[in-house]
C-alpha cells in the first residue's frame, strides 16, 4: 500500500488550519494605512496618519 499521500494531506491540513485560524488582534500595534482609493465621504482624508489626535473606530461589516 502506498502511503505517499499522507504527507500531502498533512501539509494541506496544516495550511488550512493556519489560514482558517483567527488572526491575533492588532492591539498594541501602531497602524498607519494610506487608502488607495479615497473612501466614500472621506472629505479630503486619505490616510490614518491624518487622523492622529482623534480616536478612530473601524467597523468591519458586510452588506449580506
Amino acid at each position: 500500500m502506498r502511503l505517499g499521500w499522507i504527507p500531502v494531506v498533512g501539509a494541506l491540513a496544516l495550511t488550512s488550519f493556519a489560514l482558517l485560524r483567527p488572526a491575533p488582534p492588532a492591539e498594541g500595534r501602531v497602524v498607519d494605512y494610506r487608502f488607495t482609493n479615497a473612501p466614500v465621504n472621506a472629505m479630503g482624508i486619505k490616510s490614518l496618519a491624518e487622523l492622529r489626535g482623534k480616536p478612530v473606530l473601524v467597523d468591519f461589516w458586510g452588506t449580506r
Partner: protein
C-alpha cells in the same frame, strides 16, 4: 442601526468612524445600501480597504485606534462589550490633553496647541529647544500640514462649504505661524477666486440637501427628484457630480 453610526452622530468631530465592507460588495452597492439604511448624513467614511487585518472570526468586528495611532482594542463588538465604550471615552479625553508622559515644561505648548493657538505652541517649543520640545514641534507642524493638505483636497473635490469652514478655523489657528500660514494662504486665495463662486453655491445647496434626505427616506422618489433638480441647476460642478451619483445609486436594486 450600527452602534458606530450612533457614535459618529452623537460624538461628531471627537471621533472618526470608518466602515469597511468585508463581503466583497462593490462601492456602488455598499454606498447605496448605506443610503437606503439611513446610515449616511454624518462624518463616517466608507471603504472596502482594510486599514488593518481582520481577525477572521466573523462579522461585525470592531477596532479602536487611539489618538497616537495604536490599536487599543479589536474584536467582536459583543465580546468587547462596555470595554469598548470605556476605551473610547478614555481616548476622547486623551485627545483633549497633552499626551501621557509629556514633560511638565512642555504642557504649556500642548495647551496652546489644543486650543488652536499654533503659533504660540511653536514659539513655546522654540523657547525650550529641548529634544522633547523639537519632537512636539514636529508633531504640531505635521498635524497642521495635514490639515492644510486636506483643505487643498476639499477644494479640489468641490466641498467648498466644508473647505470654507476649515479655512476659517485654520486662519485663526495659524495666525503668526509663518511657514504654515503661507501654505494656508495659497488655499485661501483659491477659495477667494470668482471661478469658485458657483461651486460654492452648489456645494452649499447640494451638500445640505443630501444631508437632509439622508435621515428621511433618502431614495424616496420626491427626494431623488429634488437632488436631481439641484444637480441640473448646478451642472458642471463637482457637487452636481455628487448629486448625479446619488440619483444613480437610488436606481440600484439592493437586496435586504
Amino acid at each position: 442601526m450600527p452602534t458606530a453610526v450612533k457614535h459618529q452622530r452623537e460624538l461628531g468631530d471627537d471621533i472618526q468612524v470608518i466602515f469597511v465592507e468585508c463581503q466583497g460588495a462593490d462601492r456602488d452597492t455598499y454606498e447605496a445600501f448605506a443610503w437606503k439604511m439611513k446610515w449616511m448624513g454624518n462624518a463616517a467614511m466608507w471603504t472596502e480597504e482594510r486599514p488593518l487585518p481582520t481577525l477572521g472570526s466573523g462579522l461585525p468586528e470592531t477596532a479602536l485606534i487611539g489618538v497616537d495611532g495604536t490599536v487599543i482594542l479589536q474584536g467582536s463588538p459583543g465580546a468587547l462589550g462596555k470595554r469598548l465604550n470605556e476605551a473610547l471615552d478614555a481616548e476622547i479625553k486623551k485627545s483633549k490633553q497633552a499626551p501621557e508622559g509629556t514633560p511638565a515644561e512642555l504642557k504649556k505648548a500642548w495647551t496652546h496647541f489644543l486650543k488652536g493657538e499654533v503659533a504660540a505652541a511653536l514659539a513655546e517649543c522654540d523657547k525650550l529647544a529641548t529634544p522633547a520640545a523639537n519632537e512636539a514641534k514636529e508633531q504640531f507642524n505635521s498635524r497642521m500640514k495635514a490639515k492644510v493638505e486636506r483643505l487643498k483636497r476639499l477644494i479640489d473635490e468641490g466641498y467648498v462649504s466644508e473647505a470654507d469652514a476649515l479655512a476659517g478655523d485654520l486662519s485663526k489657528s495659524l495666525k503668526g505661524a509663518t511657514e504654515l500660514a503661507s501654505q494656508l494662504a495659497e488655499q485661501t486665495a483659491r477659495l477667494a477666486e470668482p471661478a469658485l463662486a458657483n461651486e460654492r453655491e452648489a456645494s452649499k445647496a447640494i451638500d445640505a440637501a443630501l444631508d437632509k434626505v439622508a435621515l428621511d427616506k433618502p431614495f424616496e422618489p420626491g427626494n431623488v427628484k429634488k437632488i436631481a433638480a439641484l444637480g441640473e441647476k448646478f451642472a458642471g460642478t463637482k457637487s452636481a457630480e455628487r448629486a448625479a451619483r446619488f440619483v444613480a445609486l437610488s436606481k440600484l436594486k439592493i437586496e435586504r
